[in-house]
Subunit: 378 residues, 2 copies
């Protein structure tokens, strides 16, 4: 009778919630202990099926019978992966894999490859920090705005104060992306547990000043995520940044003083980090520019962007502990960054330069986060 009840319950629950996955299923992604990954998709009558793995791979899959297309990949690096299929020209997700993330507006499946159990973006059995979605008040923008906060393991139990790392997203992102694609909570948990990073608070605000929150978390209703925001890189976000710092210092047990403040960001967030730190030279001893969207064309747009060279010279007089620049060799912003390095070199401003493979993509940014975080507050 118990068994009968169980099966009835499961069957009905499946049926009634309109799952659409009662059709014969395949195992995908099928990940073995050695890190081999097999993707399988049922696509009856399809002519071509392609697998696209974020910016890493776009390949045809093979028809392996029984309406199934598949491909096996070996030797992939431990990391988070995002993928989808293209069936006869139509983008579809893997219905066998419930885990998805979006990159701006594109929804993809995800999995984490961690064959050795040491991938820094995987969840491990270590003490976990707390993640909070909070709404802070920005008097400058005249709005309540959402941001995400990572608190290190033990924060609640201790009376200790902690350093603060401000971590900024790129164009098309929002306050959630460093936790989602960026795996910031997992990276911090793992680095802190292994003693490679010191316990710290990580603050992830929303850098799109025309929205209060990620597009499905704001009162604007059914808005789609977009690259096109008002007041895009016009100085407004940088000018409102002290609202965030004030709110964080008021609401959390933070250590004050520049040696306990870090700021970093990817792409647009790198641009924000560059100008916020240059305009607030007393605030940050640690600056990380991850594939920063550096443009020398912003002068005149806002005083925030005026005289960058002079501001940098002044900032470096006070010797930032770490000024870190990372870029992929295939990044479309590589040239802009090379010019920026020339500017730093010309003025003998000392920075750490990290050149990686690949381009303007999350595989790099997760890696930069792992590297940069280990340098902080030491």
């Amino acid at each position: 009778m118990k068994r009968h009840f169980f099966f009835l319950f499961v069957l009905m629950a499946l049926t009634m919630s309109g799952q659409g996955y009662l059709s014969p299923s395949v195992n995908s992604p099928d990940i073995t202990n050695d890190g081999t990954v097999t993707f399988r998709v049922k696509a009856a009558n399809a002519d071509t099926v392609r697998l696209v793995i974020d910016s890493r791979l776009d390949t045809l899959m093979k028809h392996t019978g029984n309406e199934t297309w598949s491909i096996t990949l070996r030797g992939l690096e431990p990391d988070l992966y995002m993928y989808y299929y293209i069936v006869d020209g139509m983008k579809v997700i893997d219905n066998e894999n419930a885990h998805t993330l979006r990159d701006v507006k594109s929804v993809m499946n995800t999995f984490v490859l961690d064959p050795q159990g040491d991938c820094p973006v995987a969840v491990h059995n270590v003490p976990h920090g707390e993640v909070r979605a909070v709404w802070y008040d920005s008097p400058t923008l005249g709005a309540k705005r959402r941001m995400m906060i990572y608190l290190p393991p033990g924060y609640e139990e201790s009376r200790q104060r902690f350093p603060v790392f401000y971590l900024l997203h790129g164009s098309g992102g929002d306050e959630t992306v460093w936790l989602e694609q960026g795996r910031a909570a997992q990276v911090l948990d793992n680095l802190i547990a292994s003693g490679k990073a010191v316990p710290m608070i990580v603050v992830m605000p929303n850098g799109n000043v025309d929205e209060q929150a990620a597009s499905n978390m704001s009162a604007l209703g059914n808005v789609q995520p977009t690259f096109a925001h008002k007041n895009w890189m016009d100085g407004t976000f940088e000018q409102s940044f002290s609202d965030i710092m004030n709110w964080v210092d008021k609401n959390y047990r933070t250590r004050t003083g520049k040696r306990y403040h870090a700021i970093a960001g990817l792409s647009m967030g790198g641009y924000h980090s560059l100008y916020i730190s240059a305009n607030q030279p007393d605030d940050f001893a640690y600056v990380g520019l991850f594939s920063p969207a550096i443009s020398r064309m912003d002068q005149g747009k806002c005083t925030i962007y005026d005289d960058l060279e002079g501001k940098l010279i002044n900032q470096f007089k006070q010797r930032p502990k770490v000024y870190w620049l990372g870029i992929g060799e295939k990044d479309f912003l590589y040239k802009d960054n090379a010019e920026f390095r020339k500017l730093l070199d010309k003025n003998r401003l000392r920075y750490t330069y990290h050149e990686s493979g690949a381009g303007h993509e999350w595989a790099n940014w997760r890696d930069y986060l792992v590297i940069f975080t280990q340098l902080l507050f030491k």
Copy 2:
């Protein structure tokens, strides 16, 4: 030049992150101010395209030219909707809509319909509570486990203590579902702002005792969400429940005493709520059973399930303030619940009964949450 930079940046970012959405796009879901919703999908060469809206609708779409299939719906109730398409038998999501949720293992698109601006599950411009993902210690289960906490607006700024509402998910769910499909944070924000509910803490634990966290948030790696959990409804979760209450009382400014404690859950969570409250009659003055998976076949499985009738009689001697039972008339558990009502009636145990349309589905559970929450702590 600025314009040039902007377009270059956007184009490259789109291209390099492998979006796959540069193909000519359509507007979907296209939601007008009066609540009319048009779904459109590009599906060249498709023979049939269907639209499935959670358990509410499964209908053919019309080929409206230019490789596009569409359908327009009017008069839908304000609510959260989940939908997907079936293109020639293959389930696909709407590539024009970046917002998705999963129901157990099935990923679907979502939108919120709020034409009057008064839908209780929509985000409105009201003070927002804080949402936390925390890891609590369960000595009974010998594990650190993840749960979600909603704190009412103003919690951090005040020194006040708050009542606690324990809100439990169903089979196939986890600690995230009441926030995702259940929209608990939005419901609480809106009800508190309008004075219809008192400020309270809402605690959403994970009721699957064989997992520490939602399947993509645990150290188990690439596990898919499932209905099939070990120690499924065998008393283990109920027996470990005091670990959760102890941790919450230790870490939050809670009011103590049964008149400041509510417990409710959907389906399996209703079953958990029934037995936890019956076995801890001194702990909860408010009990909500939302389409509870009530089975009279559990006796002998665990002492937790023994002598329910006797325990209920004892529980009701102490007069719960609200004992609330909600079920849809088409729910496959309707009969079980009718039998349970007979048991309550036979013993003259006073409860509130709410019978709604529809079946075992989220549209009901969101509605029950809105109704039940307004009854609490008054």
